[in-house]
Symmetry: C2
Subunit: 472 residues, 2 copies
């Protein structure tokens, strides 16, 4: 199971999201975690688009060049008296997508008299430091780090305070989901003078080094599959060996290539490994895998049904193309680089606690891959040096929310650390469901989570104004 699959997995489980989700994935994700997704039209009404000139390198003075960071503003409900400013710390994708899919902010704007700001992360969407050359090589990518992104947010907030009359003496609150949630939490940790608090939704800030077991992610995935129907996870677990048995000889390779309607037939063990990686993406479509006691061939024909729904949802394709994956957009390039530098998240499987073939976490191989792809070497322990790992109790005013269905919750903060570093767990929640717009299908637990989040934010805002009054 290669890095690719992990990235894809991340995509499918992250509506919020890690990597821009292709249509197929979006449609199918409803099959699996129907309570957790909404295709309801967004409540987004109107926002304006702006650009702010950022230094390409905040941490060095040789390079004086700048780029235009895009950000969005919606101020329909903003009040200059007693209002607040909700600041979305953009993650790895086009900021318009996050703006349209973070309905929670739109839903609470009126109650918090809030201006909404959505700040695009450098190297994503239109905020490309070197335009089309941004991903050309490690020299151009050198400024794609979480630290630079946080510095962008800090400079942008200063700019907003300076230029929007009324904004200077208002409390800013950072919000984000997934990697954006990590950024929201880290922003409050590193720049507490810029935001009075942070809502970090589904932020796996501990999915680094050995802070949590590397198998926790896949274990939760497997648990989810067990919930979704009998035999599903067992069938998947069996399928790997079925493939291995069948593909020991040429006849089996041919049979399987045909059964799966592959555009390019399987030729060798490497192709088979590629196939297994690729198939892993179909975990979502368990309704085709509900029978037990199938022969190897029957099982694999069912697997084809699943693949066909996944990759050929329009029914137009005559065969399935393994080179077609869901990570072919620009955003995934940037994230692949980040995963190869700072965001080194170890994953592993043992085939016992999870439904996958056993794979150790192999940092050496991972690092070699990264060097081959990007010409850089990962620094797996840097994030812990920088952001503190488990030792973060001296910070304040961060909400960590997590859904129990979300595999990323394994690397998240799911227990209160202090009175002001609080965890909200949503038993029926998937990846930052709480940041999505209110929806008639929402489980009660997510409604409770959202109202608790609003309560905390209101408290931060009150504290801010109380402190301001005391000062004057």
């Amino acid at each position: 199971m290669g890095r690719l699959v992990l990235l894809l997995l991340l995509a499918f489980l992250m509506p919020g999201l890690a990597i821009p989700v292709p249509p197929a994935l979006k449609a199918l994700s409803n099959l699996h975690l129907s309570t957790s997704f909404t295709s309801r039209p967004s409540v987004v009404t109107k926002y304006s688009i702006h650009y702010f000139e950022q230094k390409i390198d905040h941490f060095g003075f040789k390079n004086e060049k700048t780029f235009k960071q895009r950000y969005l503003i919606a101020d329909q409900h903003w009040r200059k008296e007693g209002g607040s400013i909700l600041f979305y710390t953009g993650n790895e994708g086009d900021i318009i997508w996050f703006c349209n899919n973070t309905g929670f902010m739109w839903d609470v704007a009126e109650e918090l008299k809030a201006m909404l700001v959505f700040a695009e992360h450098r190297y994503y969407g239109q905020s490309l430091p070197f335009g089309a050359d941004s991903f050309q090589d490690s020299r151009h990518l050198n400024f794609l780090t979480s630290e630079q992104a946080l510095a962008d947010f800090a400079e942008l907030i200063k700019h907003l305070k300076r230029t929007i009359p009324g904004a200077e003496n208002q409390p800013f609150i950072a919000l984000g989901g997934s990697y954006g949630g990590m950024l929201a939490a880290w922003f409050r940790m590193k720049y507490p003078h810029m935001v009075v608090g942070a809502l970090a939704a589904s932020a796996p800030i501990w999915q680094f080094e050995d802070i949590v077991p590397c198998g926790v992610f896949m274990k939760i995935v497997t648990t989810d599959f067990k919930r979704s129907g009998p035999n599903c996870s067992e069938n998947i677990r069996s399928s790997w060996d079925a493939i291995n048995r069948l593909t020991r000889n040429g006849t089996g390779l041919d049979w399987l290539s045909e059964a799966l309607h592959l555009c390019t037939p399987l030729k060798n063990a490497q192709d088979v490994q590629h196939l297994k990686d690729w198939i892993s993406e179909t975990w979502v479509v368990c309704q085709y895998l509900k029978n037990s006691n199938l022969s190897d061939r029957e099982l694999l024909q069912n697997i084809f049904q699943a693949l066909n729904v996944y990759y050929n949802y329009s029914g137009q394709a005559r065969c399935l193309n393994m080179s077609e994956t869901s990570t072919s957009s620009l955003g995934s390039l940037g994230w692949s680089y980040q995963a190869c530098t700072e965001m080194v998240m170890p994953f592993c499987t043992n085939g016992i606690d999870d439904m996958f073939e056993p794979h150790l976490w192999d940092l050496k191989a991972f690092s070699d891959d990264c060097f081959k792809q990007w010409g850089v070497k990962p620094r797996p322990s840097w994030i812990t040096s920088m952001y503190g790992g488990k030792n973060i109790s001296s910070h304040t005013n961060i909400i960590f929310s997590n859904g129990d269905l979300d595999p990323w919750s394994g690397g998240g903060v799911t227990k209160n650390i202090t009175n002001t570093l609080v965890a909200i767990v949503i038993p029926e929640g998937a990846h930052h469901l709480d940041l999505r717009a209110n929806n008639a299908f929402d489980p009660m637990t997510v409604l409770l989570a959202r109202s608790l989040e609003v309560k905390y934010m209101k408290q931060w805002i009150r504290d801010f104004y109380a402190y301001l009054r005391k000062k004057h």
Copy 2:
């Protein structure tokens, strides 16, 4: 009054120190602030010298090169059970100098069962990222920032915890004076997972932008001179006009060149300005300037006496060489670059609240100078973005100590911010006197300050162990 003079002023008032102090300056500084300096042999007994391989660039992945950061360890009093680790966040100079001149740490080591660690700041002493080429150009200097230095400290602490048996579960405390005090405070702010608290002695963290009035520094200098004797500051204030009057014509220029025994005679207005800058360094030697009601010529002859003591303390020089200043050591190169990038501290005079000719703070001219000298442009507001300016109340466990005699106290924290961000003011203290070794001549106020500092540190250590026990 040029930048040079400000740097020199900084040197003379910073025994602790900004820039390595040349012998003349050291000797004379005793004349002025005798309570604040000690030439007593250090209590330093024994330390070992070590080197740690640091990434040259912590914030980018293109450059994988490393350099050797020097650090010193003294563990005579360290206890593995219930001990602590005092970590000096080295500033702009050779770390051995700071080790020898931070007697406070040596004095309290036994009481705190403490290991002492002195970490050299990159680009100073022996910790040169590119060896002899380190100051060659802006490309080589690009990694000389406070952020990189703090990251060095974080990585070094991780290394110590990993490699010294017993260090892992001990509380680290950051200590530093002057710029090193700023680093100690900022280190606690940015890496609270690395140190349980910080003692920031004479740290002018607010000497940026317009956080404090740009004239506060020179105003305190003038106040100090008023204390040191009658007529002193008045004579200095008068001398500028005396020079201006005398040098309106060639005869005056010649007379003055001879009266001051200048190696190179004054020729024009530019030379005169240079002279005034250069003379400013002699503020320390006020005993030659005690008479009032002097004629211009008498006054300037007295000025010669002062200059002669200052620059010709051995009595060997036959004339005074204006190109000889006290900033010709390596450390000052690094600091000059830092002052031209992040550490942009505005200074100004008005001739009313202070004894100097009026000079506005001219950022444009300063910036142009910097570009000429280093090929970089200052970013005067960056430090505030990064470290919060006055808005730092959410941090904890920092002691800010300041001496009332110290002009740097004007940019320091001299009032409690919260219960755990506390200010200690030492009425008879000069630049971080509290960090020096105990001395028979110490005023009572500095003894009280030191014991209060120990009290706070002991509290942090107790809290750390209490938290550790609770966790297990």
